[in-house]
Amino acid sequence: MSNLKVNQLTFQAATVNGSGSQSANMVLTRAIFSMGIPVAPKNVFPSNIEGLPTWYQLRITPEGYMARKGDPDVLVALNPATWANDLKTVRPGGAVVHEEAYSTAEARDDVTYYPVPFSKLAKTRIQSDTLRKQLTNLIYVGVVAGLLGIPKDRLEHGVQRVFQTKPKAWQVNIDAVNVGYEYWEQNFKDKPCGFRLEPMTGKVDDLVLVEGNQAGALGALMGGVTVAAWYPITPSSSLCENLIAYTDRFRVDPKTGEHLISVVQAEDELAALGMAIGAGWAGARAMTSTSGPGISLMAEFSGLAYYAEIPVVIWDIQRVGPSTGLPTRTMQGDVSFAYSLSHGDTRHIVLLPGNVEECYEFGRLAFDLADRFQTPVFVLSDLDLGMNLWMTRKFAYPEAGFDRGKVVTAERIEELKGDWGRYRDVDGDGIPWRTLPNTDHPLAGYFTRGSGHDENARYTESAETYARNVDRLARKLEGARPVLPQPVAEEPGSEVGIIAFGSSEAAVAEARVLLAETGLRTDYLRLRALPMSKAVTEFVARHERVYVVEQNRDGQVYDLIRLELSPDHVGRLRSIRNYDGQPLPAEAITRPLKELEAVPA
């Protein structure tokens, strides 16, 4: 074929939730990745156990773009309920592998069809009644492998990689893949599809595939978490479940069976954060993980930890709200809520990891920051970052030890001749010193409370003392600005800037290439923490027009940045918002940005 596309396609499998297609998709992904080809998987799944439609999208580009690319080039259609619609989404020139029985009466003539009698093949060629439904999916892996040119040994590698811990499952899965491969050989060998995969070198050689929630759990482990309390909620559950799996391997004393951590499934999110705060108060590195509805419930305890100055780490794997919203879709909708979570003048440190490597780094760093600033630290990931696999370089082993912050020991109290107070600002940075319970000194104890307290932690309703205390808290958070992860900026020197954060990173990276190809060069700043660094306002000052890209309706970070700007710079800021619950594609940035560029400043 003249216009054969090599390593440049978007694959999509449309299946029924609960049919076991996930392992088939992973086999395909692992097989392709092992050919040295970059992959960017996205799972679009329903809030459902079995029966509703689900899609798996695998984007393949030689450049290694990791953002979602809307419509598929190669479709596997195995869901009769969505068949008609799925067919409409295929790009012209695409390939459609579908169950033979599906009607093609209203078929398009700009795609190539590969009808496969999946049910029939499954009935006649798969012996196991119990595994038939699941293994049917492996048949399409074989067909697609034939169409795209994935070598058989790579398919075997894919099966072995996915069923790493179950060697007994290898042969039966490989057999099922081969059923599809043979069907392709017998029926479609002379019907090429216009897309081809060819082995590559140098692009993904040292990369690994990791989910954000795996990276976050590993970060927490390396950060020294010893108490984690959580309540199940999509899309955050896998973070603590990964943590449990990792701690079972790495935190159990093989001799005594003792666990150097407690991971507690709490009765609700209130209790989850309460336990973490109780543990943080008593000196442990403690965390919880949740999503929007849980964050709502955690408002009360967040205010307590802020005001009483207790270190704790709170992960929010954001999903679409408000309320229950779309539980299995992604959003950056909790930023301004988390930043000021709780009543009164509450303000929190918020970390914004932009890739899985930062999920790991910030997962570890969050404990140092919580201890150092004696305050809750929120880590805002999202469903896309947390639950999808991302290519990443391997994470670095931490060189620095734990920063446990300002802790007064019994010896120190002696040196001070007992003259210490829990909320005194002795260093001028707003960060007080604390003792831990069970410090062996008669003057170590103090009374922690969420009600008004003075420098020595005594109850007070004094107006002056209250104001002095909350002013100190504001000063403490101000001091965090230059210490938190600083923005990452790339400034080749354009008058147009882009500011983004979190999982938008992948789409922005691609959008900037696409814009440059049309002659529009852009500078870029990625925000990584709140309260934001001065570098953000300085970046805006250096650019004529700055586009804030985010995945929510109201432009939450756009608003937060505007509040920081001097009045004459406010007009430079423009807002690009995407809030359909789907991982952000590059065209959701390029399209509105070009439109807005046409509008005079």
Binding site: G224, A229, A271, G278, G280, F395, P398, L436, N438, G450
Partner: protein, 341 residues
């Protein structure tokens, strides 16, 4: 003359706290005094004590005893979660939770039940007056049907009896007492502290301002008339020689985890505090008779506490672990990341 010292060489004053800000005559103040006596006599090390509470009149009281100890006055109804977390961070802490009937049985009922279910090692005292004092006298969920508010309103809802609920869930130590009965309460507090696991002490504590009148079942006069003790209680700490001065055949000695003993002298009918179903039945029957049964209702010293179930180290606190204990080795870390390739 030197003050009398306990076995860790502290005087009674070492167990005192700030001056109370509750109403004069409040039952809670009596409980505070009984706590001071019990902690002093037991010789609890102040720095090992963690005083936990929620919100309400009851929850203010941890400020009024053992000034030296760490205390945590949290948010309403959430003391159990804070206590559970703190216990995990350092299981050497002696957790002492003080809550009220609103704090435990209304806003905090869920956390209370789950704390029972986990058998967190703590003493959990409910200062139970059937009313919301700080917000000026609304009914709480422990108020009996027919209780009359100060302004005349009559409670029409069934009460929730925290002891009955705890018994149903298999709480490993359930007792009830009365704020005015130090003779019974002090040994029960000591036994609750010695118990390893969740020890619930529901202490009826009349509110002199809002709930100490004729229509109230939580008034001094009502409790004094309707109190039925199931036994005379005496507690022998592990460091004292056990001298049983009760008549054989009428006493039962319960050995606690730390080797101390709780002696129960039978009054009236035979009562066995190790029979949970019998305890549930007795609490129900007494309620039917309009009686308030006090004493140790149930104890099970065999149930593992939460930290034990979690298998966290007995000798080292999680909060003291460092990089060497908690991080993967460089080799394990590299090998682990290779698994993602």
């Amino acid at each position: 003359m030197a003050a009398t010292l306990n076995h860790i060489q502290l005087g009674r004053d070492a167990y005192k706290g700030a001056a109370t800000t509750l109403c004069a005559g409040c039952g809670h103040n009596s409980i505070t005094n009984h706590l001071i006596k019990a902690l002093y006599e037991l010789g609890v090390e102040p720095q090992r004590l963690a005083k936990m509470s929620g919100i309400g009149c009851s929850s203010k009281t941890p400020a009024y005893f053992v000034e030296q100890a760490h205390g945590f006055n949290g948010v309403h109804g959430r003391m159990p979660a804070l206590t559970t977390g703190a216990q995990l961070a350092d299981r050497r802490l002696i957790m002492l939770g003080v809550s009220g009937d609103g704090d435990t049985v209304s806003i905090g009922l869920g956390q209370f039940l789950h704390m029972v279910r986990r058998n967190v090692d703590c003493t959990y005292i409910i200062e139970d007056n059937g009313t919301y004092g700080l917000t000026k006298g609304q009914f709480s969920a422990t108020a009996d049907v027919g209780s009359v508010q100060k302004k005349g309103a009559v409670n029409t809802f069934q009460p929730i009896d925290p002891c009955a609920v705890a018994l149903t869930l298999g709480c490993s130590f359930v007792a009830r007492s009365f704020s005015g009965d130090g003779k019974q309460l002090v040994p029960l507090i000591k036994a609750a502290i010695a118990h390893r696991g969740m020890a619930l002490l529901d202490v009826v504590s009349p509110c002199v301002t809002f709930n100490d009148h004729d229509g109230s079942t939580k008034s001094y006069s009502w409790v004094k008339e309707h109190d039925e003790e199931i036994h005379d209680v005496s507690f022998i700490p592990y460091f004292e020689e056990i001298a049983v001065d009760y008549e054989p055949g009428t006493t039962v000695s319960v050995e606690m985890h730390d080797g101390s003993h709780l002696l129960l002298k039978k009054l009236g009918e035979e009562y066995d505090p190790s029979d949970r179903r019998a305890a549930i039945q007795m609490v129900e029957e007494s309620r039917g008779r309009g009686q308030l049964v006090t004493g140790l209702l149930y104890i099970d010293e065999s149930m593992p506490d939460f930290a034990t179930t979690e298998r966290i180290p007995a000798e080292r606190a999680l909060r003291d672990l460092g990089e060497q204990d908690l991080r993967l080795s460089r080799a394990d870390f590299d090998a682990f990341l290779d698994e993602f390739a």
